[in-house]
Symmetry: C3
Subunit: 162 residues, 3 copies
Amino acid sequence: MSAEEKLKELGIVLPELPKPLGSYVPSVRTGMLVFISGQLPLKDGKLIKQGKLGAEVSVEEGALLARAAAINGLAVLRAQAGSLDNVTRCVKVTGFIASAPGFTDQPKVLNGASDLMKEVFGDKGLHARAAVGANELPMDTPVEIEFIFEIKREIGREVEGS
Amino acid sequence: MSAEEKLKELGIVLPELPKPLGSYVPSVRTGMLVFISGQLPLKDGKLIKQGKLGAEVSVEEGALLARAAAINGLAVLRAQAGSLDNVTRCVKVTGFIASAPGFTDQPKVLNGASDLMKEVFGDKGLHARAAVGANELPMDTPVEIEFIFEIKREIGREVEGS
Amino acid sequence: MSAEEKLKELGIVLPELPKPLGSYVPSVRTGMLVFISGQLPLKDGKLIKQGKLGAEVSVEEGALLARAAAINGLAVLRAQAGSLDNVTRCVKVTGFIASAPGFTDQPKVLNGASDLMKEVFGDKGLHARAAVGANELPMDTPVEIEFIFEIKREIGREVEGS
């Protein structure tokens, strides 16, 4: 089953592209790599929830927010790659988790994003990863997640030197 | 207008390379990509200002410090690429912003670096980005910013396998 | 002297691969680049020490823990590249250092990892770098370090499109 088919089966509809908060773009291609800007759990332009893990946000909620941020990342990725079926690998996921003092379960939170990659892309979704804590994040988001994907050579070639 | 010409028009003189604080180098090329080490707002080897956003440092000051760190990044980039005119894209900017409790305007601070990329490189300066908070940074710097650039294929080729 | 010979001379035996804490893999190759997941100072599956720099962990201990995390990173790298002798460059090291309030010596801690790269790979071990603080890290680890390496073209080619 292709990634786009899998997405449909999961009942996931990719949202409109969230607007960047600063003077940058949602993603950049270089060769076969696509760098995705830090994604927040925005829905209709608003954070689904604010606060920190270990305080206002539970691990279970955090994982769902990580999944929501990852869905936004897939929307950005599709806009760049044309179709998720042009993706050959999820290379790297870096998750910054807003953490109250003493919260050390960042990996469990980031699993919400990692699991989605596996569900959508299968073995191509298995990625290198880092989960780290942050004392504060933009707009008081509980999670911010960035991604690097590899896409098909011919798709990458089109934009070389762009 | 070329990037080097634009820099001149902006009245920006790139400084001497800031010395790395540890056992590493300012930048590494791999293929067409240049990875720039985390840059601080150093001037003549000293931090322009110390402290945290939301406490000792205002958003406006922070944005100027981010711009200063980005200027140091361009100095490193020129040393690696020979000339800024060999740059084909600013691929990724990651900004770590020292944040006092409750400070959530990291994107506005990082705009100081992002805007400079756009001013110098035009559309080639539009980058993917992540702005995150940190409770502490080296030397009590308010901002630390790292960069990935893409340079011309023939420049990249010279160093392949280096 | 090759990197594998150098490792032997240093008396370093690379450990069994530490198990990832989430739904991801220890490393991913894309072209000539290898992305290594965030590494912790685990020994036999347990953190050598927990706590924060500037509180429970001294700079000297922190540097040793960074070295231990880097050794785990080399184990992951060897598993991916077949041999450390297939490595053409250590491209980037990013170190997250768990920091108590007021701790600003993150670079000295990360030197424990940077110095090892230089010892093992010589000039090929010189890398771009960022050292940043974090208020909390997974499992209360004092350090988490991620790496990007460049490997020989023919090794990279084998897995292109994987």
